[in-house]
């Protein structure tokens, strides 16, 4: 299971990069199984850390995605509407979900080592 060290992780399995990009972890996509549908927030929406703002659905189930930090949505990954399976094949790359202009207070996030230890 990959857990890139340059990212921060939420206990609910979202990752956040230094430039505000958000996705779900390799562990999360593996737990979900084949992703078949992704519902993303509108650009411009302001969110608070911990708020539900997207949904990733596998064959089996729908999973809420929580904002890992407070901020404003600046972009969403439109490619996921036609190819949601990118979340499985490239959870830290082409399968990103949305970008966030992160405000001052971010949620309580873990570094890669802590996240990895919590989910092995």
């Amino acid at each position: 299971m990959q857990t890139p060290s340059e990212l921060k992780y939420a206990p609910t399995h979202e990752w956040l990069s230094g430039d505000g990009t958000v996705g779900i972890s390799d562990f999360a996509q593996d737990q979900l199984g084949d992703v078949v549908y992704v519902e993303l927030p509108e650009v411009g929406r302001e969110v608070k850390a911990g708020e539900t703002l997207a949904v990733v659905e596998s064959v089996k189930t729908a999973s809420d995605i929580y904002a890992p930090a407070s901020g404003t949505i600046t972009a969403v990954n439109d490619a996921l509407s036609g190819t949601p399976e990118l979340v499985n094949s490239s959870p830290y790359g082409e399968g990103w979900l949305f970008k966030l202009d992160v405000g001052e207070a971010s949620g309580e996030l873990m570094d890669a080592a802590a996240y990895g230890a919590a989910n092995n």
């Binding site: 399995h13 999360a28 084949d34 990733v56 089996k60």
Partner: protein
Amino acid sequence: MAQSDTNTQQLKRTPLHAAHLRSGARMVEFGGWEMPVSYTGVMAEHQAVRQQAGMFDVSHMGEFRVTGTGALDFLQSVTTNDVSRLKAGRAHYNWLPGESGGLIDDIYVYRVAEHDYLLVVNAANIGKDWAHLKRHLNDHDAQLSDESGQWGLIAVQGPQTGALLQPHCDTNLGQTKKNDFFAAHLFGVPVWLARTGYTGEDGFEVFVPAAQAEAIWDALLGAGLTPAGLGARDTLRLEAGFPLFGHEFSAEIHPLSSGYSWVVKDKAHLGRHHIRVEPEHRLIGLATDKVPLREGYPVFQGGVQVGVVTSGTVSPTLGHPIAMALVDRQAAEQGAFEVEVRGKRVAARVLELPFYRR
């Protein structure tokens, strides 16, 4: 997504538990059992069953044996289908009706010999079914025994099943018919085979003594069958339009909502008077272009709620979401529906059940 829940300590395990872990299965809780939900992925396992052959551990299901000269009369009194029509070596689908209009369970009945029947019941219902049957055994000259712990049960399903099993089986499988039930040797192990299943494909269910279940499973793996989990079992049965107890059937749902009127024959049985009432709801098939429909989503017609989704997934075969829903009888005849998904109404079109037929 939700934080992980790894609390599986209290769950029951089938004789194939170790084999699943060896195959890298993801294990989940299902009806009090720790079961494989998938091995490599639901999609791949689903396609393996539709295109070649897959195998499922269904050892969690319950097996009851009913024997004695009164066995037939007893079974006739507690089921809706006509057990007297079953010859030895044949099996059929049947219902255990309750006393208030719904079902205790939906089951399969296998006639082993003249006064010897095997019932296969849903895993989550074993205790309830047992208590119900015991209570109604009354003065029938029949014995009821719970053999659930003695059997491993492996469902081998898909168009290549017969070809893959035949070299290892001493019965000419090509000469058997759907719902045949017979003793055979598979990989040299004495088993019972039934030409039955829950996937919409041809296939067999293998009843093997629990102690030999793992050896048979490993031999089937070696013969080229793809292990498939509960995830694929659910997408396969949904495409095939098969109701699942706890979703399309329950103690409250009128079983004839399903349209399976052939399961109710003209005979005296428990709950007969409730089941002969016309159902107020109808089970229908729905589809959307993109948005998956899930169990519990409310179904609307003309702004009024007329029903609820009972099961939903994205169909690997059709490539779009499919669902079954219980809706008011009048609404079922109208056609256009909307389903509420996370507070928004999404248009859903009606598709005739089953969604898939080989």
